[in-house]
């Protein structure tokens, strides 16, 4: 699998580390409900198909990336930096 890092170009999977569902970047406010926090910390979508995920180019530029990936075919649909 290859991910097209916006800073470094297309690189092999081995250079990247995976965090999970891209919703992890949407951290609830400190006063959000217990349910919101529960959902944020523990609940992940696990779709068969396109999925927005967080990856880090750990062995490269260290950029955190928002990657849309088809979990069935491993096709990378889009890559952008989180900032």
């Amino acid at each position: 699998m290859r991910i097209n890092c916006p800073l470094c170009g297309a690189r092999d999977l081995r250079e990247f580390s995976y965090l999970g569902d891209a919703r992890l970047a949407d951290r609830p406010a400190a006063d959000a409900s217990a349910q919101d926090w529960q959902d944020y910390v523990y609940l992940r979508d696990n779709p068969a198909g396109p999925h927005a995920e967080l990856w880090q180019h750990a062995q490269g530029c260290r950029a955190w990336l928002r990657v849309r990936r088809n979990t069935v075919t491993h096709e990378i649909l889009s890559v952008e930096r989180t900032r």
Partner: protein
């Protein structure tokens, strides 16, 4: 035997000497091992796996199931090497496999007599009872008897590499289709990588007699190869097999760099595993000729018709003096004329089809089948049945053509399934099975040379197509002979017969995947390249279904076997992972330190001196230095992160449980980091160097995780903050200077006083060390008056030596990880042995460090009821009562109570024998803080340790902290 004509690959002037089973043999330069043996009249080249049947080569390529050899000896020994692809060289040592005694008289051939007891599934039926026999009796016997080839058991002396290659267009295979594709795309300027499994380009062009344009196939291929070599944008790799297709246009390939050489050039590997990244790829891997099932169709001398032609044209070898040909398609006829042109007698052409009129000049049987063969160690004659009865045909070799299977394997590596084409009676791939991979030529079912050339030109971008034969295949499927006795082999390597498939079907293993596993058809090292489709056809026939309805089994990488050592490349043994060495590594080695690995770091564990014989003696002395004089310890391995920017303080407040925004410049504060689920992630210090500048430390173990976490906070959670965080772990060498004499040591080094007023406990600031700008932190991980001093890493070695010399002058010296561990357990300081991912701040007695006046990572979740309170296991000290030592990992039970899981109060996390306090430990006990003074039993059933201890405060030494505060 060698014939006068043919031999496209031979250098007839150069003899090559090699050994087989220790006996000296000769071949010609250019021969494969199997070709040289056939030229020498030896068709018998191995024994089969299960029945130890005599076997000879069936193919002339990598799909070979039978002619497997063990090459080399000792650490260079390689089993299961295919004689049909192994080039011979002077000094090659080869040995035949799978026999007890000589190849001609194999003691294990008795298995063949008992074959009716060894049919499919015999393991499952025979070895069911008595149960106790399985491990002690059956398995050792089966293991000794089973298996193809053997390793020497010695460490490999061969070197392997891994490498990457990149291209616009990867072309797999260099037959007419692949060559034309490479040439066309290469002329257009594409960055082409042409990969060929064989030792030279051309595919079957040098194995056939027909011409392309005015040249022979071999000459034409050589011409194209020369032009490709002249194109700077085309790279050609021979002796390289593409073994797998993966996501994102990535392909795996194994290059046999030195397998054909007697001496591998200095520094070169034996083989190299390539990862190839291609914009698009063309599969021009050709096709494999199928065999046909008939009784005793596995005798040496019975082989693919295409293999017979390959031996003739490539190596000038006829496998026998008299050869018969058996086929179900027009393609087989060519074998007759080619052999006759070389002066070889063809005793019969047997065609299964009725009503065809082969254009050959030899005895012809149409509508005919081979119904029996004879010959113990090699074919002698065979019986042919046609409408007129049964005829005996004398032949020592039978060339068989059951049709062709396009080499679709790579197109199936990403879950693609091939589809059946009735007109060629074969499976072909579905376009798009592997994104951007296109099968062309014979690999796509276009079997004629002209069609392959056309497909190559088209795939390469279009252009003129050379002229070549364009004969139709005209195949009528014929899989196996019926109504006869005798075993008909489908899978030669795993000894699977038509009868085995029939049995599997009868016992209801009717799904093709079940049949495969029950019979082991197609599960040998050749992955069923020769046998799969035949097996499917038999299953379809039994089930009364069509072949496409039965479906195929799954083709998986690798296409041909790849040495595991090649996948590892150089990342083995000492180079398994990078070694990170501390700045004091050289000094530590000079001082005979023993080392401990902490992740990739090598840290000095203790420094033996004088008469000391055990680590404990050294560690106790080093502890004494720190407690009574001064010790020096390399703490560079702790993670260091430089945090800068106007919003640095907001980041620190977010990642630390404590409030860092109140930290003043020139001060250091201990901090606890939580995970978002409220449990402790790591601990360390945060030093404020200036208004907008901090340096934080992490534990050695969690440095990488914390860095990624900090970057997640700055890039994903708060990209709007103006803050940057960079790891400077490797840029700064840092040493702990600890003990009552630490101030004296540093005052001598720095040349000025270190007063409590200027350098208070938890103070920090810049210092000049002999003209080098460094940093000094008054922090302690030992409980003593202590500092950590940091300099740019390039000065680390010099500083380590200087500090050590000064410590020695003050009655101290270097201390290592063992002493450090004792010192920190005595003080109740935690490491990842304590913060093991299950521990909350409250469990550590640090609940109040979670600041109530701000948000932080993990704060909300840490406030959940379940994460604090007396029902939790809390950090305690443990002190052995009486004799015995405590071991980390022991579990804690009430004294006098039967130890059981539900009576388990907790565990010991860190233990040591303190030179001054005896056996002590840190551990976790339910409601532990309220149980100080109680006795509890530390039980380690694995190591047989059982000690009564007293629960106490985790800080054993100097609980008020007077020593480190000064």
């Amino acid at each position: 035997m060698r014939v006068e004509t043919g031999g496209n690959r031979l250098n007839r002037d150069r003899a090559v000497r090699f050994t087989l089973n220790g006996v000296s043999r000769a071949g010609l330069a250019g021969d494969t091992l199997s070709a040289a043996l056939l030229a020498d009249g030896q068709v018998l080249q191995g024994r089969s796996f299960k029945y130890h049947r005599p076997r000879g080569p069936v193919t002339a390529g990598s799909e070979e199931p039978n002619a497997l050899f063990t090459l080399g000896q000792g650490g260079a020994q390689m089993p299961n090497m295919r004689g049909t692809t192994q080039e011979i060289f002077d000094g090659l040592q080869a040995a035949t496999q799978n026999h007890v005694g000589s190849l001609r008289h194999d003691a294990m051939a008795v298995n063949d007599l008992f074959s009716r007891f060894l049919s499919a599934g015999f393991y499952y039926k025979t070895f069911m009872w008595p149960r106790a026999f399985w491990e002690r009796v059956y398995e050792p016997i089966i293991r000794a008897a089973a298996g193809l080839g053997a390793l020497s058991g010695e460490d490999s002396v061969e070197r392997y590499d891994r490498a990457w290659a990149h291209c616009d267009l990867l072309i797999i295979g260099s037959g007419p289709a692949g060559l034309m594709a490479a040439l066309t795309a290469g002329r257009r300027g594409e960055r082409v990588l042409l990969v060929e499994e064989d030792m030279r380009l051309g595919g079957r062009l040098d194995a056939e007699s027909f011409a392309i344009g005015d040249d022979t196939g071999a000459v034409w291929a050589a011409g194209i190869a020369a032009e490709l070599a002249s194109l700077p944008n085309v790279r050609v790799m021979t002796r390289t097999t593409v073994t797998g297709a993966y996501d994102g246009g990535t392909y795996g390939a194994y290059e046999r760099v030195g397998e054909h050489l007697g001496t591998i050039p200095d520094g070169a590997p034996r083989g190299c595993f390539w990862r190839i990244v291609a914009g698009r790829a063309i599969l021009a891997g050709g096709a494999h000729e199928r065999m046909i099932g008939f009784p005793n169709n596995d005798r040496p001398g019975i082989m693919q018709a295409s293999a017979v032609r390959a031996y003739l044209h490539r190596y000038g070898v006829a496998p026998a003096r008299r050869i018969a040909v058996f086929g179900n398609n027009d393609n087989a006829w060519r074998t007759v004329t080619d052999l006759q042109a070389a002066g070889v007698e063809v005793t019969a052409l047997i065609d299964t089809r009725d009503g065809v009129t082969p254009t050959v000049d030899c005895p012809v049987y149409t509508g005919a089948q081979v119904v029996e063969t004879r010959g113990r160690l090699g074919l002698r004659n065979l019986d042919v049945r046609d409408a007129n009865g049964v005829h005996r045909v004398e032949a020592e070799c039978l060339a068989v053509s059951g049709g062709w299977n396009p080499s679709v394997h790579l197109t199936c590596h990403m879950n693609g399934r091939p589809i059946w084409r009735d007109d060629i009676a074969a499976f072909v791939s579905v376009a798009g099975s592997v994104p951007n991979l296109q099968a062309i030529g014979a690999a796509n079912g276009d079997f004629s040379t002209a069609a392959a050339l056309r497909a190559g030109v088209e795939a390469g971008g279009g252009g003129e197509v050379p002229k070549a034969e364009d004969g139709p295949v005209n195949i009528t499927p014929f899989w196996h002979v019926t109504g006869v006795k005798g075993r008909q082999w489908l899978d030669f390597q795993n000894d699977v017969t038509v009868k085995d498939v029939t049995l599997a079907h009868r016992e209801n293993f009717r799904s093709v995947e079940h049949m495969k596993r029950y019979t082991t058809l197609g599960m040998a090292t050749d992955q069923g390249k020769l046998s799969n489709v035949g097996g499917l056809a038999v299953l379809a026939e039994l089930a009364g279904r069509e072949i496409p309805d039965v479906g195929t089994t799954t083709f998986r990488p690798p296409y041909t076997p790849v040495p595991v050592a090649a996948l590892a490349g150089r990342t083995a043994r000492g180079q398994f992972q990078p070694h990170r060495l501390t700045p004091s590594d050289g000094l530590s080695r000079e001082r005979n330190a023993s080392f401990v690995e902490a992740g990739q770091w090598h840290r000095a564990a203790w420094f033996p001196e004088g008469e000391e014989t055990t680590w404990k003696q050294s560690a106790d002395r080093e502890v004494g230095w720190v407690r009574n004089a001064v010790g020096v310890c390399d703490v560079t391995t702790l993670g260091k992160i430089d945090v800068q920017g106007p919003d640095a303080v907001r980041l620190l407040d977010l990642i630390y449980a404590g409030k860092m925004s109140t930290l003043k410049p020139g001060k250091v504060r201990y901090g606890l980091m939580l995970r978002e689920d409220g449990l402790v992630m790591d601990d360390g210090t945060c030093a404020r160097l200036g208004d907008d500048r901090y340096v934080i430390t992490t534990t050695t173990a969690a440095a990488g995780e914390v860095m990624a976490h900090v970057e997640f906070c700055t890039q994903a959670l708060h990209p709007e903050w103006q803050v940057s965080a960079v790891s400077v772990t490797d840029q700064w060498a840092q040493f702990a200077v600890a003990g009552p004499q630490s101030s004296a040591l540093l005052q001598g080094l720095l040349g000025h006083e270190l007063t409590d007023a200027e350098w208070p406990f938890m103070g920090c600031g810049p210092v000049q060390i002999g003209g080098v700008a460094g940093r000094l932190f008054r922090i302690s991980f030992s409980g003593e008056m202590a500092y950590e001093i940091a300099v740019p890493a390039r000065y680390g070695d010099a500083l380590a030596r200087e500090l050590t010399a000064r410590a020695q002058a003050l009655g101290g010296g270097l201390y290592g990880m063992e002493a450090l561990n004792i010192l920190r357990v005595e003080k109740g300081f935690i490491t990842h042995a304590e913060i093991d991912g299950r521990i909350s701040a409250d469990d550590l007695g640090m609940g109040r460090m979670v600041s109530p006046s701000k948000d932080c990572i993990g704060k909300v979740m840490s406030q959940r009821d379940g994460l604090h309170g007396p029902q939790r296991k809390q950090l305690v000290g443990l002190r052995a009562v009486g004799e015995g030592r405590l071991l980390s990992g022991a579990h804690l039970f009430d004294v006098g109570v039967e130890p059981a899981p539900d009576a388990d109060w907790g565990h010991v996390s860190s233990a040591c024998v303190s030179p001054s306090l005896g056996a002590i430990a840190l551990g976790f006990v339910v409601n532990g803080r309220a149980r100080h003074g109680e006795q509890i039993r530390a039980l380690d059933l694995l190591r047989g340790n059982d000690v009564i201890c007293e629960i106490c405060d985790p800080v054993f030494m100097d609980p008020e902290g007077g020593r480190m505060r000064g």
